[in-house]
Amino acid sequence: MSTQEHTVTHIHRDDIGARMGMWLFLFTELLLFGGMFILYSIYRYTYPDAFHLAAKDLNTIIGTFNTAILLTSSLTMALSIAAIQRDRKSLSIFLQFITILLALGFMVNKYFEWSAKFSHGIYPGSEVLLAKPSGEIVFYGLYYVMTGLHGLHVIIGMVLIAIMMRFTYKGIIKADSYVKLETVGLYWHLVDIIWIFLFPLFYLIT
């Protein structure tokens, strides 16, 4: 059998390999955020009182609301995969669209939260912040870097889901071939898991 014949009769596809590849990438993400969580735990151990004091100024209501938004977006993402598995193309596209809307809502809340902090003069390197005790400077440094990096992941996720919406619309993602949507789903759920841990550590210190 010639190679040409082989490629015609057998289009190579390895869905398990694709998902495994995504998981391997997610492990590197885990290390990226894991390092920051170690930094957080060490500084919180060093400055327990300053962390409590600084965390009181964070808006718990916005934090809780954003947690609910992100959890719901994970649900719609999972449902969109369930829909394409059942050949419900337009339902899947609709659910992906809702996921993007929820992610946008998350970022809008983040925008208001950060601008409220900025208007109080609290941003990295500001005079107001630098006048505070070193524990609080460290807390806000970690807060901006960790929620900022998480926010960046949310934006990347939104772009990826938008591309998947187009793929689904064009029939590249379909009932018997949806591994692309699955891997983007894996990424999106990891972003959700990271927030699940960020939320109590920053917003719920009493």
């Binding site: 718990t60 994970s74 369930a82 759920h189």
Partner: protein
């Protein structure tokens, strides 16, 4: 259809199952916010982390399909998580030992 293009339309991939998991996640969020208001002393952080871990477990097994994936995936993820936790414990215990002395 090839083996590696399997469809898994078992119970764990049903709409209803996902919605149930979502309800559990929302309930756990409510619990963690409510508990944060109570002063449990040294257990406050532990409680928050345990609840967060339960939520993470639900997302990993149901939303990320680990429950219905082959065993290889579960072994991979478990090894990665165990290494992360071990490095956390080692680094943190080392630091707290240095800080105390």
């Amino acid at each position: 259809m090839e083996k590696n293009q399997e469809k898994h339309l078992d119970n764990s991939h049903s709409y209803g199952n996902y919605i149930l998991v979502w309800l559990a996640l929302m309930a756990l969020t409510a619990v963690t916010v409510a508990v944060a208001g109570i002063n449990l002393g040294g257990l406050t952080v532990a409680t928050a982390l345990i609840i967060a871990s339960v939520k993470g477990y639900l997302v990993l097994t149901i939303f990320m399909h680990l429950k219905s994936e082959s065993k290889t995936f579960r072994v991979f993820v478990s090894v990665a998580l165990i290494f992360l936790i071990v490095s956390f414990i080692l680094l943190f215990s080392d630091y707290s030992f240095i800080a105390r002395n």
